[in-house]
Amino acid sequence: MSSLDLKRLALAALLLAAVLPDRAAAAVKVVTTTEGLAALAREVGGDRVQVESLSRGVQDPHFVDANPMLAVKLRNADLLVDVGLDLEIGWLPPLVNQSRNGEIQPSGARRLTAASAVQVLDVPTGPVSRAQGDLHPGGNPHFLTDPRRALKVAEAIAGKLSALDGAGAGTYAQRLRDFEKRLQAAQARWEQELAPVKGRKLFTRHRTMTYFLDWTGIVSAGELEPRPGVPPPPGHLAELVLVAQREGVKAISVENYYDTKSAEVVSRHSSAKIVLVPGDVGGEPGLDSYEKYVGLVVSRIAGALR
């Protein structure tokens, strides 16, 4: 055997080693854009699925790099689950186009846009322009802070998985029921924990908590950003300080991927405390399930508003 043959053989072996183990496993390959969606896919998919998230829970999902290495993950995806409502507009489309996976294109057979399963809030009704900041023209995409909506998304994932992997339909349905039972029990506990602070007011950094507030009955007293994605000028922060003093705002919730400078300013001049919250599952060490993530957000917010 010549050295060229050996080299070729080695190369072929390397290629095979790279390709086969992945393909040999029968699990449905689910790729999600965020760790929250990944956690839900794991809940309903169990051992039948292999789930990977393109972004990490500590990242701001609006600003993920369109790294071509992520396109490699999409290439073999049996299902792509994205949030939608333009949350991933800055990075997902080029990756999907690079992936060569035609069925994960928007509306493709192997694409599930989670927003299609939930009732969307903050949908602009009047004219939309960038003068309003970097807003989401389709509505607010941060709906996984609400367990009721998360359940809807889990249902949609189970439906899609059953369509793609008919043999597992029973498993998916069973796991969905189990998840529903656990989540509803947890939800009852969380609601109890939040009951004393219902109706209290808080500021948020970005409109990331709209759905959480919709669920909990806690009230938004405003956002640190005067418009989505626009940094707060001093005048706006001063206004918030006055609002905080007038209306007894007790907390400013800030996802841990944001800088806290403006929150600190408002906090210093009022009685509102900064509450750092994880932005998603995986947003802090140990937050490896959807229940742990929401549980932590609930306890932090409840603690600060008490």
């Binding site: 070729r8 790279a18 490699v72 939608g84 186009n97």
Partner: protein, 419 residues
């Protein structure tokens, strides 16, 4: 056993699962006709079942109001659809045709230029410059982008460039979306897949102007032209793409369009959490006359490091180009650039660049060097203001300073850019 064999295997593996998959719950338009009857389930019996079927068909033809259950059903719908589904009233949505418009965007670039040595005669190039020692304001370019999915099989991207006194279709190409075996074809008029910066539009660059070497060695503006580009994504755990293109290119303003073959191998490796290294190799051969060629070679390196939290990042980027002529007169040469760019946060960035290229214009033969620095302010995602200062030295020792102040804005829906 060789890689074509592996490619075939992979092709088989890619194709098989899709053939085995269940029917799409919301079939796309072309599939709807044949897909619908198959999803009806057990054979309808009796008048009741018939009525139900009729109702379903009427609904399928858009004659029934969209029921709430249908809207809530598991959907592969895109983000915009649910709202439309829940608002459906008599007569449907009169604005529906707007949904089919391609994404339309415009990017405008303007610059104020000043130099102390006469760029036009001593260092001629594309990009903003004016007469020596005179502040000149320049309208650089307005790029109109039209981008859309064409059908379930391809998308199209069109970029029309308006420059002072000219309109040009910069790029207009179709990209396939679902060829098997990791293949993707682009066809139309496109930038050549040669090096990193040549395939990017100027508004993606950190620096205001192109490195000198690109203009002197590859093409006055961009190496581009009508043709076909075949890209193969290798079935490896890291990103490895091989591109082969055949295009008619005209590198200089006076050149005729001639057949050019381009090959590029691009790889991205994960180096550490948040750090990626990209390495590319490019080669091109342009037919100058029967039996005579212009050969181009290039190496590009891109290192990007970005902490997961926050908006800051650091990039290190460099390219080397070389040009040779075979059996035809022409100046061979080598040149390149290296740049470091730091995005401090969402609003500011700065960088430095070193440039080296064969001298041009009335400069003595040899290499011209340029040292540049840039500061960028991003008032928002859709605007940037850049100040670029450079020191340029010709081979004969003559030197000078250049300053560029550039404004750029983007409106409309412009597709996100690749890495």
């Amino acid at each position: 056993m060789s890689s074509p064999w592996v490619a075939t295997l992979v092709a088989g593996l890619v194709v098989l699962p899709s053939a085995a998959r269940a029917a799409d719950p919301q079939p796309s338009q072309p599939e709807a006709a044949q897909g619908a009857p198959r999803t009806q389930g057990p054979e309808p019996q009796g008048a009741e079942a018939r009525e139900k079927l009729e109702e379903e068909i009427a609904k399928g033809l858009g004659q029934g109001g969209p029921g709430p259950a249908a809207a809530a059903a598991q959907g592969a719908a895109s983000a915009g659809q649910p709202a439309a589904a829940s608002q459906g009233g008599p007569g449907g949505n009169p604005m529906a045709r707007l949904l089919l418009l391609p994404d339309i965007s415009a990017i405008g670039s303007f610059a104020g230029a000043y130099d102390s040595y006469g760029v036009g005669s001593r260092s001629p190039r594309e990009g903003p410059f004016g007469p020596k020692d005179t502040l000149t304001f320049r309208f650089e370019e307005l790029e109109l982008g039209l981008q859309s999915i064409v059908d379930p099989y391809a998308r199209a991207d069109v970029f029309v460039s308006f420059t002072p006194g000219a309109v040009d279709v910069e790029e207009a190409y179709l990209t396939t979306l679902s060829l098997p075996a990791g293949l993707q074809v682009k066809a139309g008029k496109l930038f050549s897949p040669f090096g990193r910066q040549n395939s990017q539009h100027p508004h993606v660059w950190d620096f205001v102007d192109a490195p000198l070497a690109r203009g002197r060695l590859l093409a006055a503006e961009t190496l581009s032209g009508p043709g076909v580009d075949l890209a193969w994504l290798a079935p490896l755990p890291w990103f490895t793409e091989l591109q082969l293109a055949a295009q008619s290119t005209a590198p200089g303003p006076d050149d005729a369009e001639r057949l050019t073959g381009v090959a590029r191998l691009l790889q991205y490796f994960p180096v550490a959490e948040g750090t990626t290294l990209g390495v590319g190799l490019s080669a091109a051969r342009r037919s100058e006359a029967p039996g005579a060629y212009r050969d181009l070679g290039g190496v590009d390196v891109y290192l990007r490091s970005r902490p997961l939290q926050g908006r800051s990042y650091v990039t290190l980027q460099g390219e080397l180009f070389t040009r040779r002529f075979r059996n035809v007169a022409g100046e061979s040469g080598t040149g390149g650039y290296a740049q470091l760019f730091v995005r401090k946060d969402a609003f500011f960035g700065y960088g430095v660049r070193y440039d080296r290229a064969p001298a041009a214009g009335d400069a003595a033969p040899g290499s011209e060097d340029r040292f540049g620095a840039i500061g960028i302010w991003y008032p928002s995602e859709f605007q940037r203001i850049r100040l670029q200062l450079s020191y340029d030295r010709a081979p004969d020792g003559r030197d000078g300073l250049e300053a560029l102040l550039a404004l750029e804005f983007g409106i409309g829906a412009h597709g996100a850019h690749p890495f």
